[in-house]
């Protein structure tokens, strides 16, 4: 690692990078196509013999492009990013109590399974439960995303939009737990 001065504070948001409206349903094929086209235009590989300013710009543009693609291609990160833009910050500690209790319980079962103290049936049941939860979460995200897009397209009034943002913020408070549970799937064996 080396210290290098970087230019900070690019005031372009990820939707603008791809010239997209702030909507949550994004066609992955079309996004990928744009991503490839923009990469071909800006990638530092094509500027390695250019003057330093152009090389720097290529690195910065491509980093921005990659960050934007990484965020927008992912249905959950996309919602989180929109919330950040709108001034919300999903907070795992604000997840519903009953949900947290369930996760705690599941984590205990995962530890048991990892320590080899679970039967095959128990492991299968555990895997199924994690997958069910993950699917349920994905469905909620999809539904909330559709709702947001509908409101945004119809040009609804601010309170309705705000309520929807708060609703999404609530759903997203569960995101990191779901993510961690999914990561453990492999480890259960």
């Amino acid at each position: 690692m080396r210290l290098r001065k970087l230019v900070l504070d690019v005031v372009v948001n990820y939707f603008e990078v791809f010239d997209l409206p702030r909507l949550l349903n994004i066609d992955p094929k079309a996004l990928e196509k744009k991503f490839h086209a923009l990469s071909r235009k800006h990638h530092p590989d094509y500027f390695s013999t250019a003057p330093i300013e152009q090389r720097e710009l290529a690195v910065r543009m491509t980093a921005l492009l990659n960050d934007a693609y990484r965020t927008l291609r992912h249905p959950v990160r996309r919602v989180e990013y929109l919330l950040n833009l709108e001034g919300y910050k999903p907070d795992g500690s604000k997840a519903p109590k009953s949900f947290l209790m369930d996760v705690f319980e599941l984590n205990e079962q995962i530890e048991e399974a990892k320590a080899g103290r679970a039967s095959e049936e128990q492991k299968t049941a555990l895997r199924n439960e994690i997958e069910r939860r993950a699917a349920q979460f994905d469905a909620e995200i999809r539904k909330a995303s559709d709702e947001w897009d509908r409101l945004a397209r119809d040009g609804r009034e601010e309170t309705q939009m705000k309520n929807q943002l708060m609703r999404m913020n609530e759903i997203l408070s569960e995101a990191s737990y779901i993510h961690n549970l999914k990561e453990e799937l492999e480890a259960i064996g």
Binding site: M1, H36, T49, I52, L57
Partner: protein, 600 residues
């Protein structure tokens, strides 16, 4: 600019290649051989041999013949303790953070030793092409962390090579493969070499080589198989042989291992030790099964990260000498449910791919583009020794992330930041990259300063950092202490001590380089001052730029390269905000241009 070569700096062998008229080829050494063994021999008079000539000394002069140095790149003593018992050469006591090999009382770091190999390859390329070579693309294992990548770049610098790009070995292999076959679809590159293992899963479409996921183990390779066989033999022998004996056994087991790829049984023979032991293929396969299994786990992880089932992989490409082992091929075939490609020369394909990438960088090939990823998550230490991830593994590079920091007590002017790489939750389980000190924060009540720190992983997979205090707009000076790396001063010193240049030459060279850089910085300052964004600066800022530029013009004709560097640093500091404004405007413009064209 001189031509760009592609270099595969391997654990066991290294190669140099070049692309001419769209076709890459390996450049042989003066002995006509393509492979340069990554072995360095030192004689008592300060002479150095690299490659085949050095390899011949491994048994005769075990204590001063260094090999497999790649395994030590970017490592400290704790990382390599398991290797020490079978090492014939001496490791210096001062190896806590950076391993140092001691030969004839002198310490050599892995970048210095690797530089000797790079210099040999550079010379080979120069004599094969009949021209000077100063630019290179160098490959590294995909799973190399920041320190290992930086160490490789440092090696290039010490060897007098400008490393234009660090490329991951499996990705380089895919370039050579894709060029040849014009493939589309998903491919997995299984790269099992002398010291490291990588798996990369890529999607090829219309000339874009996009890495979806990568995983691996930078301390798992043919060397580990050799060591298993060596331990087997040593156990039979009872009494431990001397280093010469150990090296003879090493050579004998490598021979037997290679024989077993062709035959059902082989013999490990060392006449001098009265050693003669048969090994059957069945016995060998049982012995190496745990090692091969250790390569399959990363394969499963990479598939999972890519969100793919094994059946979604269209082709499997085998790279690296250890993929010659039939058992390895069989296990890979079972996992991916298809017959892997073994028709490419596993020793040469990485160097050929590096030469293809060199051709892309040279601007001659615009139809191919490589989109690679960072193999490890980047994180920072937070309360309670927990790592907070800021750039996840398998993010396409360059990638960046921004974090906000503040102070805990009133008037605090320093904030410490600890940067790590790895997937685990706790600091102690991740790889420490560096500690930063954000210094000279304007004194304010606790919690009020807002220091924005920007992390950027560049196209080489190396981290860059900068910081700015938001309330004052002031850039912070950041002091980096790499945990397992060399400082700029150390590299500078190594350059001075390097074999090819006399001290006076080096100093003259440093002055010339500093002057060239000063000219570049002054030129871009002039451009900046002429830019419309200059008007947005305060009178104070403008005056600071003017003063720093004048000061640099004054010192740049002196013969004091330190003073010139100082002047460059001052000018860069004072133009930082201007550079930022210009860059932001350029990015906005680049995005707007795109829109205008789309509308048309």
């Amino acid at each position: 600019m001189s031509r760009i070569v592609g270099i595969d700096l391997g654990t066991t062998n290294s190669l140099v290649a070049i692309t001419e008229n769209g076709t890459p080829r390996v450049l042989p050494g003066p002995d006509g051989r393509n492979l340069v063994p990554s072995v360095i021999y030192f004689d008592e008079n300060g002479g150095v041999l690299v490659g085949n000539a050095a390899k011949e000394k491994m048994i005769e002069k075990p204590r001063n013949t260094v090999f497999s140095i790649k395994r030590f790149m970017g490592k400290g003593l704790d990382d390599v303790r398991q290797d020490l018992p079978l090492l014939p050469f001496e490791i210096s006591a001062e190896s806590e953070h950076v391993i140092r090999v001691k030969v004839f009382g002198r310490d050599y770091t892995p970048p210095e030793l690797s530089a000797l190999i790079l210099r040999e390859l550079k010379r080979n390329a120069e004599s094969a092409l009949g021209e000077d070579i100063s630019n290179a693309v160098v490959t590294v294992p995909a799973y190399f962390n920041d320190a290992q990548r930086q160490a490789t770049k440092d090696a290039g610098r010490i060897a007098g090579l400008d490393v234009l790009r660090i490329v991951n070995e499996p990705t380089a292999a895919s370039l050579a493969y894709g060029l040849q076959e014009r493939r589309q679809g998903v491919i997995a590159v299984y790269d099992f070499g002398g010291g490291t293992f990588d798996i990369s899963i890529l999607k090829l479409s219309e000339g874009i080589f996009e890495v979806l996921a990568t995983s691996g183990d930078t301390h798992l390779g043919g060397d580990d198989i050799d060591e298993l066989l060596m331990r087997l033999v040593l156990k039979d022998l009872g009494a431990a042989p001397d280093v010469r004996g150990v090296q003879q056994i090493r050579k004998a087991v490598v021979g037997a291992k290679e024989d077993l790829s062709e035959r059902e049984a082989a013999e490990i023979v060392v006449e001098e030790l009265g050693l003669r032991r048969g090994v059957t293929r069945r016995e060998f396969e049982a012995l190496i099964d745990p090692i091969v299994e250790r390569t399959l786990q990363p394969c499963r992880q990479a598939l999972q990260d890519a969100g793919l089932k094994p059946s979604a992989v269209d082709e499997v490409v085998m790279v690296g000498g250890s993929t010659r082992i039939p058992f390895v091929r069989r296990r890979v075939q079972e996992l991916f449910e298809r017959i892997p490609h073994t028709e490419l020369n596993p020793d040469e394909v990485v160097a050929l791919g590096a030469a293809v990438q060199a051709d892309i960088l040279a601007g001659s090939k615009r139809d191919m583009l490589l989109l690679d990823v960072t193999p490890l998550s980047l994180g920072i230490e937070t309360v309670g020794g927990v790592v907070s991830k800021i750039i996840p593994r398998n993010s396409t590079i360059p990638a960046s992330a921004t974090e906000m920091f503040t102070t805990f007590v009133d008037g605090q002017t320093n904030v410490k930041i600890h940067v790590l790489q790895g997937e685990r939750e706790l600091v102690k389980d991740c790889r420490s990259l560096a500690n930063f000190d954000l210094k000279d924060i304007p004194p304010m009540p606790a919690g009020l300063p807002r220091i924005e720190v920007k992390f950027l992983i560049d196209a080489d997979g190396i981290l860059n950092v900068s910081a700015q205090e938001q309330r004052t707009g002031k850039y912070q000076s950041v002091q980096v202490k790499p945990t397992h790396g060399l400082t700029d001063e150390e590299i500078e010193r190594m350059l001075l001590e390097s074999f090819e240049y006399a001290e006076a030459d080096i100093e003259a060279r440093q002055v010339i380089e500093a002057r060239n850089e000063a000219e570049t910085v002054l030129r871009s300052t002039e451009k900046g001052v002429a830019d419309e964004q200059y008007q947005a600066l305060s009178e104070e800022e403008k005056a600071a730029i003017n003063q720093a530029a004048n000061r640099l013009r004054e010192v740049m004709n002196s013969n004091d390269h330190g003073a010139i560097r100082n002047g460059i640093e001052q000018l860069s500091q004072s133009t930082q905000r201007l550079a930022e404004l210009i860059m932001n405007a350029a990015i906005q413009k680049a995005l707007k241009d795109k829109r205008v064209r789309e509308i048309q």
